[in-house]
């Protein structure tokens, strides 16, 4: 089903850029306010920011204003051009990631045949940004933090990729849209009242994926790279003002985007079970899903980010060796077994 309006190419591009900005910054702001400011405070029996705006809702604007007016400090012996580029690379990875997330039957930025493959590939660009941020700062803490981040992100990328393979096998496609359709048009043993969200059949994959996402986002208990009690602030130590702000936005925007991807892969994405409205495939889906779809996606994202943040605020930090051992000795074998099981069951059914 196509949108009746047709736009010239430049207008489409402009709309995509604006949409991308909204899709990255709106979740990031919401996540920071709802979870970082409020949920974390409530979990520690305090109220969090209350003065800026009603219930402190304008606090984030105050924070951004504060960061923007700070002095832009750069270490004298830093590699200046690299130092400047690093946060942008990290943020760029977030924008590239959101490009493949479908928000509705027609509400998408790009619709690659191999969207999952693309998403997993671009998500690792941020490692580069973090690594060169640590290296170019000319600071031992930054360097250690950058190397820890590189080791961790590479280690946890594997279980993430392997966890997604299960979904890809079951859906039989790497296209994000078709994965959504496959889940919502699917049925469980002939009953199609819920569709077949892959969190049910791929629960191991979902668990491994969420753990890996937690590590990819360097949220506690996987926050070794920025462990403030050991490394000051890891690769971000020398960053201040606007550049720090970019790292900060990237951190929480990426949390949102990974939650969006997880909801596409495991929770049925923008769709509702198609049987509710008598749809059979992509062709039958009504146009109003383009409006409702993003809202459904947003709700699912908030749910998953709640999970991520809840774990972040509850658990203490892993030691570096425990962290690596957990990835290589637990998550990767588990996800390999999951792939085998999925492949066998796919052939059986």
């Amino acid at each position: 089903m196509m949108i009746a309006l047709t736009f010239p190419y430049w207008a489409q591009s402009l709309l995509r850029v604006l949409g991308g900005l909204v899709a990255v910054l709106l979740p990031a702001g919401t996540i920071v306010y709802v979870f970082l400011f409020k949920m974390m405070s409530f979990m520690q029996s305090r109220l969090g920011p209350m003065e800026a705006g009603p219930y402190g809702s304008m606090q984030l604007f105050a924070e951004v204003g504060k960061w923007l007016q700070k002095e832009d400090i750069m270490p004298e012996r830093a590699d200046h051009s690299i130092f400047r580029i690093a946060p942008l690379i990290v943020l760029a990875s977030t924008f590239l990631l959101v490009a493949v997330v479908p928000f509705g039957p027609d509400a998408w930025f790009t619709n690659f045949e191999t969207g999952v493959f693309y998403a997993l590939a671009v998500s690792s660009i941020s490692v580069l940004g973090i690594l060169i941020a640590g290296w170019s700062s000319a600071n031992k803490y930054s360097l250690l933090g950058g190397l820890r981040a590189a080791g961790q992100l590479i280690a946890y990328e594997l279980p993430m990729v392997l966890a997604v393979v299960g979904v890809v096998i079951q859906a039989g496609t790497m296209n994000m849209q078709q994965i959504v359709v496959a889940q919502n048009a699917g049925e469980i043993f002939g009953w199609n009242g819920l569709g077949n969200p892959y969190i049910l059949t791929q629960f191991i994959g979902f668990a491994v994926f969420m753990v890996a996402v937690q590590a990819e986002l360097t949220q506690a208990p996987f926050d070794m790279p920025i462990a403030e009690s050991e490394l000051v602030s890891g690769y971000m130590t020398e960053y201040s003002g606007f550049r720090f702000l970019i790292f900060f936005i990237a951190e929480f925007a990426t949390a949102g985007v990974f939650a969006l991807i997880a909801s596409v892969l495991f929770l049925g994405g923008w769709g509702v079970p198609f049987s509710w409205f008598g749809w059979h495939g992509m062709g039958d889906v009504s146009n109003w899903m383009n409006i409702v779809g993003p809202l459904i996606m947003f709700t699912k994202m908030m749910g998953l980010v709640f999970l991520i943040m809840w774990i972040r605020f509850s658990y203490p930090r892993f030691r570096e060796d425990q962290l690596q051992r957990f990835a290589w000795k637990v998550l990767i074998p588990v996800s390999l077994v999951n792939i085998m099981l999925t492949a066998v069951l796919k052939v059986v059914f």
């Binding site: 405070s41 305090r46 209350m50 809840w310 509850s314």
Partner: protein, 166 residues
């Protein structure tokens, strides 16, 4: 592998944070929104040091025992009329200056302890921050005004001899 199953403890940990969140929703936070609502400090809190000028003999014990050297005292001797007719005039110490620099003070209370004439007292008052650091130097008039906020000394224990302050 060294990884024993830790799941029950992990779930319990999540429960703790979740329950705290729910309790904060229901019963409010444990914190106080300071400028809007205030907690009364304990009666014997060390907020600010008050001076009863009449009792001070400018003996300098407090200034000398102060670890931060934040007490400044200047005085001179004056002749006062004799107690009885025909007696010699008495010499008394008059206080010219008694300043405490609260920018330096570390609230150890040694000056209050060491004062032999009951001239210094603790007051629980704590709201005297200033935009300019020089204004934290309280002179003897201001220190005297704090006396109004000094709480009554608590009842003595049974059998104690009456030597308490104030």
């Amino acid at each position: 592998m060294g990884l024993k199953p830790k799941v029950p403890g992990l779930v319990k940990g999540l429960g703790v944070t979740f329950n705290t969140m729910m309790n904060t929703f229901k019963d409010g936070a444990n914190t106080v929104q300071y400028p809007h609502e205030k907690e009364a400090p304990p009666v014997r809190a060390r907020g600010v040091i008050a001076l009863r000028e009449d009792n001070c003999t400018s003996c300098m014990l407090c200034a000398r025992s102060c670890p931060d050297w934040c007490i400044y005292i200047e005085g001179h001797k004056e002749l006062a009329p004799p107690r009885r007719a025909g007696g010699a005039p008495r010499k008394v110490n008059k206080l010219d200056r008694f300043d405490i620099d609260y920018a330096l003070c570390m609230y150890c209370g040694i000056c209050v302890e060491v004062c032999p004439f009951d001239a210094l007292f603790w007051s629980p008052e704590y709201e005297y921050s200033e935009p300019k650091i020089a204004d934290l130097l309280h002179d003897k008039t201001k220190l005297g005004e704090w006396m109004e906020t000094v709480p009554e000394a608590p009842e003595l224990e049974v059998g104690a001899d009456k030597k308490g302050k104030k």
